[in-house]
């Protein structure tokens, strides 16, 4: 690892501007943290409620830097073979068969053959390390994976290298920009957090959210966007099971546009509330507290 890799961005302000050009409106803290993750060569751990744009951030960084996006979607029970690499044993068996028929046997011959790059199936982590083009590695929903997988990530994320016993250690020629996301359904281990820069993405302030809604759904218009954002903020202030996030605000704006509604009165909110609130009890609570009926 050279450490002399050219940085992707020149300043935190530039991060903000370029992300905005890609349609991702980041606040100052987000822009600074992305900038630092690149400068210090550290992975970026993004935590926050569902639907605030954690995955989008990684995609936007990939777009503005012209990098390829390699994505590792975590789930319960994901293991080394799915995350890092796997030997293609079917192909290896086939090779053994062919060699035996051709009379070329013997362990030394075989070892050289069947444990070579040809039989290696690279999974996202290894692929991101091996790529020579600029790369953004997105490790999505890290909290869904088991704790052992985090141990696996440690080697990859601190040294940007992967050790394969049969082949040796593969070191990244070009360090990927790594983004990990988490919905914090569980606390990630201290060891992993220590290696990352941490960014807590929360619901944005009113002005930014309005800008985001207008960016994504321009048809909605300034005035309706304003009403919508204020209403969503009122909803968030209630004690709900699942507070609406930006994704819901955007969906709501789309719905209102599709239905041709140009003002958000009690009637409009009542009929479209299902887009924003996903629990029946939440909807009932909102109906009483906002005096919709």
């Amino acid at each position: 690892m050279g450490g002399v890799q050219t940085p992707l961005f020149a300043s935190a302000a530039e991060v903000g501007e370029r992300l905005a050009q890609a349609g991702y409106l980041a606040d100052a803290a987000t822009a600074t943290t992305v900038f630092l993750a690149d400068r210090l060569g550290k992975p970026l751990l993004v935590e926050g409620p569902a639907g605030v744009g954690k995955t989008e951030l990684a995609k936007a960084v990939a777009t503005v830097t012209g990098s390829g996006l390699v994505r590792l979607q975590c789930y319960e029970g994901i293991d080394e073979a799915r995350a890092l690499y796997e030997w293609d044993y079917r192909k290896q068996l086939l090779r053994l068969q062919v060699d035996r028929d051709a009379g070329e046997t013997g362990w030394d011959v075989e070892r050289g053959h069947i444990f070579s790059e040809e039989f290696l199936l690279a999974r996202p982590l290894l692929e991101a390390i091996r790529r020579t083009e600029p790369t953004v590695l997105l490790i999505d929903e890290t909290d869904k994976a088991d704790v052992e997988v985090e141990g696996l990530l440690l080697e990859v994320l601190s040294d940007f290298q992967v050790t394969i016993p049969e082949l040796g250690t593969i070191v990244a020629e070009r360090r990927p920009f790594v983004v990990l996301t988490s919905n914090s359904t569980r606390e990630l281990t201290e060891a992993l957090k220590r290696r990352c820069l941490y960014l807590h993405l929360d619901y944005p302030d009113a002005e930014r959210e309005r800008a985001i809604v207008l960016e994504r759904v321009p048809e909605v218009g300034e005035q309706l966007a304003d009403q919508l954002v204020r209403t969503v903020r009122a909803l968030r202030a209630m004690e709900l099971k699942k507070a609406p996030s930006i994704a819901e605000s955007i969906d709501w704006a789309r719905t209102l546009v599709t239905l041709g509604l140009d003002t958000l009165d009690a009637e409009a909110v009542r009929t479209t509330l299902g887009v924003v609130l996903k629990h029946a009890s939440d909807a009932a609570r909102a109906t009483t507290e906002l005096k919709l009926s």
């Binding site: 300043s11 600074t32 820069l197 004690e239 005096k291």
Partner: protein, 460 residues
């Protein structure tokens, strides 16, 4: 600022963070140092974001970080408004409160946070100073807020926001919410500014120590304010989700069950008929029945409500949850916490719909236990985990020890969660120590302790 000065400040800052319970380790501090070299140091928001990214890795610690950051890297030095330049003990003349209130009225309708912050600074320097004796604090939040009294502006502001729309509907609720948010922001800015001024006159470390609120999961149930309780209730769902997934992980790590022949044979086909990997059936999970018996009298209601909501949210982890509440008599409240119920609402209906008070609304443990044992004799059985919640303050009435012992003997496990600190057990009318002889009594003063307990209670 010279590099040694900057690093010195960082060192003091991280020490204060650690003292406040934010675990900033050596490698975090090293990273923070590298951050200082990479960012534009003149941009305070960059500095804040950069340090937060390296030093704070749990949202729980962020308020502490922000408060300390404002003390170590104050947004301004001295009197930035330039109004009270010169000798601070000299009275700056009568401040024009009405002009300030007019300005505030305009700012509250707006979205501009920076302007509001500037206004808070101005207001503090004009209204917050009290001619001080030497060595005494001379800046006060309450003086500013009392003079401005933003709450009294709400009615007029609502009229402005609604612009002729009728009151009482959606529009008013939304507008109200907006104003409350802005006033809360104003209050926070004023508090921050007052802290800054006090820290300038006095010792910074001391201000840091005295003004730090406890971490959210360390807030005492019995001392929590209304908004703190509401904030706690909002954490119930995420907390339950975290507990449940921690449990699922523990279950997966536990021993596997019997061999699954079909899946093993099928998997062996990939390795030429040799069963290299065996597959096992998942173990049957033992799910206990949970009976919660809780004191919901005024003194412990906040604690009882939170715990009830948490157990209700964890319903799937038990084969059955039954909830009983009592003050001086007992009633079943399970129906209020059914699937899909709005937990906040359930708590509100609790005292209204259930029959809990016989005489005066003071806890009567003895009678409540008797009613419970007589009316629902089959509620506690050999599969039941029994959870009693309460402060064990009997108001010098009969504690009903034999009744409780009978319940404990019939149950599989029994615990008593007491929100009072252990050193107060047995003092005054508390019979916690006597109850402790027949049931395992656990101190449960804050969310952290409760989380810990529920984690241990739940089955693997």
């Amino acid at each position: 600022m010279s590099p040694t000065g900057l690093l010195g400040t960082l060192e003091g800052f991280t020490a204060a963070l650690r003292e406040a319970g934010v675990p900033a380790g050596t490698s975090e501090v090293l990273d923070a140092t590298r951050v200082l070299g990479a960012i534009d140091l003149l941009d305070r928001s960059q500095l804040r974001a950069g340090l937060a990214a390296t030093l704070v890795k749990r949202p729980l610690h962020r308020p502490t970080f922000d408060l300390l950051f404002d003390l170590w890297w104050p947004p301004a030095v001295g009197d930035p408004t330039g109004l009270t330049a010169g000798d601070p003990s000299e009275e700056p003349g009568e401040p024009d409160v009405e002009a300030l209130r007019d300005e505030l009225r305009r700012l509250l309708l707006d979205d501009d946070d920076e302007a509001l912050r500037r206004f808070a600074r101005l207001a503090v320097s004009q209204l917050g100073h009290l001619g001080a004796q030497p060595g005494r604090q001379s800046w006060f939040t309450y003086r500013v807020l009392r003079a401005l009294s933003p709450e009294t502006l709400i009615a007029a502001l609502l009229d402005a926001l609604l612009a002729g729309e009728p009151r009482g509907g959606l529009a008013e609720q939304v507008a109200r919410q907006q104003l409350q948010e802005r006033i809360a922001a104003l209050r926070a800015y004023v508090e921050a500014e007052v802290r800054r001024r006090v820290a300038e006159e006095r010792d910074r470390d001391q201000v840091a120590r005295t003004s730090l609120p406890p971490l959210a999961d360390q807030v005492d149930f019995l001392r929590a304010q209304r908004d703190e309780l509401a904030a706690m209730r909002r954490t119930v769902q995420p907390l339950a989700r975290r507990l449940a997934s921690r449990l699922a992980a523990r279950r997966r790590l536990g021993r596997a069950g019997r061999l699954d022949i079909r899946r093993t044979v099928r998997a062996s086909l990939g390795t030429g008929g040799v069963p290299v990997v065996t597959h096992h059936r998942p173990r049957r999970v033992h799910k206990p029945e949970l009976v919660v018996l809780c004191d919901v009298s005024g003194s412990v209601a906040g604690f009882a409500h939170f715990t009830l909501m948490l157990t209700a949210a964890l319903r799937e982890q038990f084969s059955r949850v039954r909830a009983f509440a009592f003050v001086d008599t007992c009633d079943e409240v399970t129906r209020l916490f059914g699937p899909g119920a709005d937990l906040v609402d359930s708590v509100r209906r609790l005292s209204r719909e259930a029959d809990l008070v016989r005489y005066d609304g003071h806890s009567d443990y003895g009678h409540s236990f008797r009613v419970f044992a007589d009316s629902w004799p089959d509620a506690v059985g050999p599969k039941t985990s029994l959870l009693v919640l309460g402060d064990a303050r009997t108001n010098y009435r009969d504690p009903g020890l034999p009744l409780l012992k009978g319940l404990v003997d019939r149950s599989r496990h029994a615990y008593w969660l007491n929100p009072e600190p252990r050193r107060e057990w047995g003092s005054g009318d508390s019979v916690a120590d006597r109850y402790g002889e027949v049931i395992e009594m656990v101190e449960c003063r804050n969310v952290a302790q409760l989380t810990d307990f529920v984690g241990r209670l739940l089955p693997v």
